[in-house]
Homo-oligomer: 435 residues x 2
């Protein structure tokens, strides 16, 4: 089955699924338990070591992916050797028709936050596990790392340029997650097409090397892209590169970029040199193995823009978000795996966040959705929001820009210590009212 | 433009590209340098810290992706606001028509190995940078980690089950890379469809929790999937779970799976219990946060199969392979960025590997393709092979199965110390004959 015209997927997403989900379905169909009413929850048992918060991302992509989660002739032919006739018939009619609630994209999460809750028959909900987790584990990991970079950049602009360091489709999702987290633009043109994210970039070292001299390269670039462009000045000698750049472009040059070396020292020297040459408005763009710690270290240096690649698309040490998708309720009965050291509570959960009157978050409270409600205080905010009802996306789901603003506001709501880069406790405590 | 019917891509891959590649192209077209004859090389400056070898993977995916690298109406419309008319016209006629050589998939690589070489006009070769690097950086990282797991598993079967821990499309490529590296199967159904990789899996904890008792779950699974299935026995109490499994399935049960706890102790206890129950042929499958070190630690335990997830799809600490794509030659002239601590040699390179008569590799030799050839010894093997000629894939490119066998043989060729898990030097030295 070919995916819908608007979709990023070439074909149905239904085979982006683990084999065992369909064999479980078959066994459940055979004995009649596949239509038991179930609740599955996606959550993480822990944040990556020392991280103080996570950022919810990928919810919009889950909606896209579920739209295309159908079994057409090609999918059924692929599955015919491994599934019985009854299961193939079930799948041929399958479209998720249950309810999903989720934290909005751009919301913060912590260990135990019930980020996404799927309610439906066992059969309909169990087979979504892999696809939902793939999207959440990837996108939350990237957005969580990106938000730390945005936070320490303290208003300076960030460009996501890590496409080459990750799978080509993952790269598009990384650009989306980084933009959600507050990056200003991406180098990835497909992300521009698919999500409307601003794209940018000017030239690489190869462009300079193509020419007999650096000056010839700069002349060619200015002639084609105008003086507002960014000239890459570190192919040979940076001081000479900057002098040549201003000689060629004049003092209205948009920016210079330095991609190697001791960036702090070089930024200061470049700024001084540009100012001395009269190019006081020419910006300094730094790139080259930057991560949140390097960005923090550059805080007092005269930098205008950071280009970030590898570290953001690999989650800066935490490339996956450790989300799990657990069955927590069957026909209204709480269920949980017995476990000595894993916290898996049975029962469908909800959560709220509490705030001071000043807007500072104080705690997250996780409670049973069908149990006694927690004490209601002024400023409480219920976190999960309806996402799908009877299989259909609810009206008015937030757009990427909304989610971006949501996160910017959420980060401001954290106590100051919660934004520290250093390893430590969660930014706010989570209170569990689960028995 | 819609991609070809066989393609994994929904649309043209041409926008899986960094913005700056097209602005460089525009500037080069405007001044007439876009048709200079160029060579770009993909290589890594270093292996991940302490790793002794890397595994080439993704070459077949590069061929797939380049097939769909064309600019149709939709791509051109997206680019119209940022590029001039001449560039758009160039792109509308674009199809890569140069030559590519590459190490075969499944070959080993080391720091400085010229893994992939693109020859063509500057314009035609420069715009492939991001897509080629995305594929190589991702797939080589996964295959390199997976090969270490295969190596220490010492013949025991490995199942790749990490789809949920990475981007949904990355998951398919991970399954491919892991299979290439010697994993026996994957949980990912789309990888089964796209690449013909064997898929497998039986049941998760949710299937047990769906039922009122573990026994009822096992009865349902056996009834539908037969006694050759794998029963997951650690939802409640493992000893009780194994007893129930054999009670329900009899001693012909295919396997039991344990997904949590101290796997070494549990494997031994499970084996003893199964044997005592007469289920001497029932296999023991272990999963749950396994990586190459955990697999090595289980070497003396009675384990039959390992299920590996997170660690393989995240490259086990090295999620990207640090490949770069550098312009090394323009109109026959070697070029290189000046750099104090990065090794970037100008000039087009080739490489050969030397072997003892016993088949053990002794060194890799990197040399200028147009320079004096290195001394020719018996058993030398030239590493780069033709991949595309005049833009067309050469006849008889290896299939995934061939590449899998290629790697199995290559790993056997390494000196014993080269297969050690511990951090250390490259398995064989690389001799550079570059001036």
């Amino acid at each position: 089955m070919t995916a819908a015209p608007h979709s990023p997927y070439r074909r149905s997403t239904a085979l982006m699924t683990d084999h065992y989900e369909l064999t479980m379905l078959q066994a459940a169909l055979a004995e009649g338990s596949a239509d038991r009413s179930c609740t599955f929850e996606a959550f993480t048992r822990r944040l990556p070591e020392g991280r103080r918060y996570g950022v919810v991302a990928g919810i919009g992509r889950v909606v896209e992916a579920l739209h295309d989660f159908t079994f057409g002739d090609d999918e059924l032919a692929q599955l015919a050797p491994i599934l019985d006739e009854a299961t193939l018939t079930y799948l041929s009619n399958y479209r998720f028709d249950g309810d999903i609630d989720a934290y909005p994209e751009g919301e913060l999460f912590f260990a135990g936050s019930p980020i996404l809750t799927v309610r439906g028959s066992f059969g309909s909900a169990c087979i979504l596990e892999t696809l939902i987790l793939s999207i959440l584990n990837h996108d939350c990991a990237i957005a969580s790392a990106a938000a730390r970079m945005v936070s320490v950049a303290a208003g300076r602009r960030l460009i996501e340029m890590g496409s080459r360091r990750t799978h080509e489709e993952s790269a598009v999702a990384c650009a989306r997650a980084a933009y959600l987290a507050g990056f200003g633009s991406t180098s990835n043109l497909e992300a521009g097409r698919r999500y409307g994210i601003p794209t940018g970039g000017t030239a690489a070292h190869s462009f300079t090397l193509l020419h007999d001299t650096e000056e010839a390269a700069f002349v060619a670039q200015i002639a084609s892209l105008g003086v507002d462009t960014t000239l890459l000045v570190d192919t040979y000698d940076i001081t000479q590169g900057i002098a040549t750049a201003i000689k060629v472009a004049g003092t209205d040059l948009g920016a210079i970029r330095i991609d190697s070396g001791d960036l702090g020292v070089l930024a200061r020297a470049a700024r001084d040199q540009l100012d001395a040459l009269g190019a006081t408005k020419t910006k300094v763009v730094l790139s080259g193995d930057l991560d949140e710690y390097a960005i923090a270290a550059l805080r007092s240096e005269p930098v205008d823009v950071y280009g970030v690649g590898t570290s953001v698309v690999t989650g800066s040490g935490a490339p996956t978000a450790s989300m799990v998708y657990k069955l927590v309720e069957v026909d209204g009965r709480p269920v949980a795996k017995r476990s000595e050291n894993k916290k898996s509570y049975g029962g469908r959960k909800s959560a709220l966040r509490r705030y001071r009157d000043t807007g500072t978050a104080t705690e997250e409270v996780v409670y049973l959705a069908d149990g006694p409600a927690p004490e209601s205080l002024a400023n409480d905010k219920i976190l999960p929001q309806p996402l799908l009802r009877a299989g259909k996306p609810v009206e008015g789901l937030p757009k990427l820009q909304d989610s971006r603003q949501h996160l910017a506001a959420a980060l401001v709501s954290l106590p100051w210590a919660g934004l520290k880069l250093s390893r430590g406790e969660a930014a706010i405590p989570t209170t569990s009212l689960i028995p």
